[in-house]
Amino acid sequence: MLDTAPVVRKNPGRKTSGTAGRPRRRPRLGPYLLIAPTLVVIALLMFWPMIQIGIMSFQKVGNRQLRGEPAEQVGTENYDKIFSDPFFWQTLKHTVLFAVVAVSLTLVVGTLIGLLLHQLGKRMSSFVAGGVMVAWATPPVTAAIIFSWLFGTTGGLVNWTLDLLPDWLVGGGWNDYNWFGTPLSTYTVLTICVVWQACPFIAVSVLAGLKSVPGELYEAARVDGSGPWRSFWSITFPILKPIFMVLLVMSIIWDFKVFTQLFVMAGMANRDSFNLSLYAYSEAFGSLNPKLGMGSAIAMVLTVILLIVTALYVRVMVRQGETK
């Protein structure tokens, strides 16, 4: 795992070496030429579109603008509209609740699998890891379709199993239960699907981290009579804390903007189950009367939330010396 990382770290005291150490070089054009194409691509495909979203969120952009008429400035009208619309708050609630549940489950299950992989013998560990990878590798569209099939009404395996189980345990009438009928059940399926796909990444990252913890620490703890629970919280967790920070932030970002799986499972017609990204998309593209300005305003809300989380992520990465 460590082979790709540059091992040698510049020591922090080298700031003074500009004059004393190696002779000052004149600034060269080389590196700038090398990053120039990337900068152009990122500027055109990321920064400029991001600014455009910001501009459009204060405009009315619809069919007439798509035909080439200039956009109409509407001030904060789009924002006023969404913030006073209970439907927006419902989608925000779905987004946040889903992220909280899915992120916690992903981290807990993923960490447990990582710990398990670490305990297993070498062969068994790579066997299980290989299987877990399959879940990670599955394309999101396929994953959503497979889970729609597993939780389907006709021939769905989950309903069949639940129907077999005794009624006092799970209740009856599962055979034609429609999982995609209410937001709660839709999000249940979505959570299982997303956690299934996301926890392998957590597991493998945690495993990589565990391999870097010196085994003597656990030995010492065991000799001192500490159990596995205690060892985890007083050795593993503090050492792996940087990894957990990165994984936490990445999971939050991924789950906040989940789109494909929900889109495939619930579709555009199922407005009750919308989250923020689906809502923005449906305002912008979902009808014959596209409201790209409204869509942009909702997308801005999502982006601002994610930028705050990203700022946290960047802080962690910078503190770990990742950008050195």
Partner: protein, 296 residues
Amino acid sequence: MSRPSRLGIASRPGRARRTRVLRKGALNTAGIVVFLLAVFPVFWMASTAFKPNTEIFSSTPKPLPSRPTLDHFDLVLNGGIAETSFWVYFRNSAVLALVTVVISGLLALLAATAVARFRFRFRTTFLIMLLVVQMVPCEALVISLFLNLKQFGLLNSLPGLVIVYVGFAVPFAIWMLRGFVAAVPRELEEAAAIDGASPIRTFFTVLLPLVAPGLVATSIFSFITAWNEFIFAFTFLDDQDKYTLPIMLQFFFGRSGNAWGPIMAASTLLTIPVIIFFLLVQRRMVSGLTAGAVKG
């Protein structure tokens, strides 16, 4: 139960061995359960794809098809699911992904060399920018990218889509590649320079061959990103004969919601290449994603 003393293990060897065997058994069982749970959905997909319809909708589902059939694959491959042949979608996806890989690989290699080999002003800014843009939600950008592509007449075209994919693949590719470039000893390049090789020649004859494994890993990652991508392709492509595989699959799923046999056959055809590629590079991918956190 009495508390085991520090010397307990040594004084009761038989019991300790039994505990160890039990522990190992429990761990291995847990491992197998995790394995089964992880692969089950994919297994069920493939298994359904080979089942005749009577077995798919049977009231007692069986794990494996008792009379396996290739009918569903036949239907998918020979144009029964949409007006256009499966191979057209396959070609669209493959071409799109390959072109994305080549362009983003080239851009990333250049930038990764800059970042790993040179100290320059704004280097840290550039790296932070790479981190930030990886987090930008494409679900938001799709709106303005749609308008921009429309303006340049690139909507509903594969080149337009390639441009967008490159933008989204490059930041991570640089992040991953720079570790590989940094791992190549600088002395090799210096030696080549002393022998009179030009910087460009050094790049092609020294650095490139040594970074090749990293480039392969990065390329496969970009390939998978483009191969799996849904939202941009779905939004930008109108004509059926331009659809990529995920769009075809979603379209087919939406239109014939209960034809699970062909849907699962198509899903299998979309998924298997990705899983194979993925298993080939997963170790490098993880180290690329969390390298900083891991190296501690």
